[in-house]
Symmetry: C2
Subunit: 441 residues, 2 copies
């Protein structure tokens, strides 16, 4: 049986208007899309923005035990946005579709697995006669993915499910946004404003009156000493706040010094099944994560999972199928507030489904931590691999510990994303220190 | 116990940008808001765009058996859009809120009942300390009403629930909209395009290639003889199609000669409860309706109710509470396709909840039809009432038949909306003929 993997690593549902992405952001997205390789099984067909780098392909398949030459890669011609993302126009290209049909000819496709199961993928699946193989196809074909990723829609769904969300609201006009921000600021709280469609904290800003606040989860902190400055801020930032197209704006209380957590589920026709939980490492926006999470105790983690499951159950009932990450914060007072769902394969999905699921043996899975961070500058991917091999730091399936390079960002900025897998959080940090030393100076 | 009734008869969730409404449309909306009187019980407090006309108030309360002098009316000052709608700014007016608090002082409010249970009403309810009395408050406070009324969101929810919808899709870019339209036209179908937020067919247009089509359910039929004309149409109408703010566009197959049906439910915490079904009278957009519906047989009606209930169950799970009308068409081939939900008190709500529920005695309810139409020009509301009294056509609770004036549109265009209640569809038409004769010439 064949899986058709579609590495559409940035879509409008994820980040809003794609034309707003810089060339470098696009290149990072293109590199990130190559992580689809972690999902491949023997004989699968992968649609990628560009063909895989041979070193990275050999590395990933070496770890997953897949025969690299059994995989088929199909790359559509560049689209209006270039060649780094699988945009709607690229997935609709007639020449690409003809090639994809040839690649799939004679294979029994039992799953269409996309990073973002959006309308463009649903349309492609239908055109290939494989709608049945795409989980949640009816919902996706009607743009349902936008509902699951909307930060505005999220607050209604969460409130409707009785899942705790930060105090705040969803506002549509400048006057309403101003009032909602002021309402929180005058109570002495700081505020997070969010653009409806964005990812990784890039659509968030923190607003504060008197407090000094660290900008965790946002690009910056904006001081707004009085109501007039709130009005001026809303007027100045209106186009950005509304995604340039009249979207609604999320205004909610920001909880400083909180731990950002997530619980990830796979939703099928009958149930929502936990993949795992984790904790984001922020600086100030997400730079990595650790799983299992280290800050919450067992009781808090159980509550996180419970509440996230209720949220996912609502998404199941409305028709979404696939992976959902439900993101929350744990405040210093021990309260959990959810702030978004992401209906797609996320960075965390790789940790749970690929590394825990495919690299670690059964007996290690309950006794390992994975810390993943990005931004390690290396001479080349091949040299990075050689260096950990030589130093004895490379992941070893026997011990279920070691370093894994999860993503090759060389084409973007010469860096890799790396995972350190060890028996404890401290051991992951020790291993990371050893890794970083290999490339220092 | 007191109900706080809020007659917000046009909201952004219903019709999109309110500033696009003409003064006459606004006045019709203001008159329609007065129908809130049909819901009032002794001692209730009603927030209206303007104070009720004494004749209309006396007429409605005469039929519902409510003591008119037991009702309290609170009218906020005009807002930016004038005095015909209960817009967000009017509901937030501090002087109005102070007056409303005084009106409610000492009363136990057990329900906040709005025409459109939107965020502005939720905010008001919370400010009054009555959030608990507004069904579905958590969902409404986070803008959930927009989800229930979005024609784009509808298609995903319906598809996800497995409820039949017309072939088509939800599209975001001009290229996608053009492709979706052409895809249906080349198959020989005509097409309906819909603006995400609109009501009563005013956000719909029908597109046809060769077919001659009646414009039922839309303002006009646009001939598009080839793909170039489709592209030109999409380019020319883009601002309108996207609500002027980048909304998504619904493109679906249009079924000519179909009967527009609805099933209306009340959703509470534990169940969805059928209020009734009906059939719209179109010319070309909705001008009235009849209930029970006359075109479908019992089996088709049962299917309509079944499917609508599944749709409403999804809305219940995500947190909506209150009235929902699920609208569908019955094609000449006997297929049912749903095309939108409206989360609010609708025109139909008056028929089911007020006329069937309050005017008709128990023993008549299963043996009466109500036909409601608008546009009967009358000298004045008082004279219209006197005329049916004199002619013996006025509604008589003893027989459960006769004429009811449901809405007074005199301030808009000198007309009334009227209901004829009789034992059969034919008898309603006969009674209507008698009514129209009173005002002919």
């Amino acid at each position: 049986m064949t899986t058709l993997c579609i590495a559409n690593n940035r879509t409008e549902e994820m980040v809003g208007d794609l034309t707003g992405m810089t060339p470098l952001e696009q290149r990072f997205a293109g590199c990130g899309a190559q992580r689809m390789l972690w999902w491949a099984e023997d004989g699968d067909v992968l649609v990628l923005p560009w063909g895989p780098d041979p070193e990275y392909l050999a590395y990933v398949t070496g770890l997953t035990g897949v025969r690299a030459d059994s995989l088929t890669f199909v790359v559509p011609p560049p689209g209006e946005q270039g060649d780094q993302m699988l945009t709607t126009d690229r997935l609709a290209d007639p020449g690409f579709r003809a090639e994809l049909r040839r690649a799939l000819d004679g294979r029994a496709v039992d799953e269409v697995l996309a990073i973002s199961p959006n309308g463009a993928v649903a349309e492609l699946a239908a055109a290939l006669g494989m709608a049945h193989a795409m989980p949640g196809h009816p919902f996706a074909a009607q743009g349902g993915n936008a509902l699951v990723n909307s930060k505005a829609g999220f607050r209604a769904l969460a409130a409707g499910a009785g899942v705790p969300i930060p105090p705040g609201t969803v506002a549509g006009s400048p006057a309403e946004v101003e009032a909602a921000i002021e309402h929180l600021l005058v109570q002495g709280h700081s505020v997070m404003v969010k653009v409806e469609y964005q990812a990784g904290g890039f659509g968030n800003e923190i607003l504060a009156r008197d407090e000094r606040v660290d900008a965790a989860g946002a690009e910056r902190v904006v001081p707004l000493p009085d109501r007039a400055s709130v009005a001026a801020y809303v007027a100045e930032r209106w186009t950005w706040l509304t995604g340039g197209r009249g979207q609604r704006v999320v205004v909610e209380r920001y909880f400083a010094d909180s731990a950002p957590l997530y619980a990830q589920f796979i939703i099928d026709d009958t149930a929502v099944v936990l993949s795992g939980c984790g904790e984001m490492v922020m600086q100030p926006v997400v730079i990595g994560e650790i799983t299992p999470p280290v800050t919450p105790d067992a009781e808090v983690t159980a509550e996180l999972v419970d509440q996230a499951a209720r949220l996912c159950e609502s998404l199941r009932v409305i028709g979404y199928r696939g992976t959902v990450s439900a993101d929350a914060v744990l405040t210093p007072k021990g309260e959990i507030y959810f702030h978004e769902t992401n209906g797609r394969l996320t960075g965390s999905s790789h940790l749970h489904d690929a590394y825990f699921g495919r690299l670690l043996r059964e007996e290690h899975r309950d006794a390992r931590y994975i810390l993943e961070l990005a931004g390690l500058k290396v001479p080349s991917f091949a040299q990075a691999v050689a260096a950990i091999d030589a130093a004895g730091l490379a992941f070893d399936p026997e011990t279920g510990t070691g370093v894994v390079y999860s993503c090759d960002f060389a084409p973007a900025d010469g860096s890799v994303m790396y995972c350190v897998i060890a028996e404890s959080p401290e051991a992951t940090r020790a291993l990371e220190t050893g890794l970083l030393a290999l490339f220092a100076g």
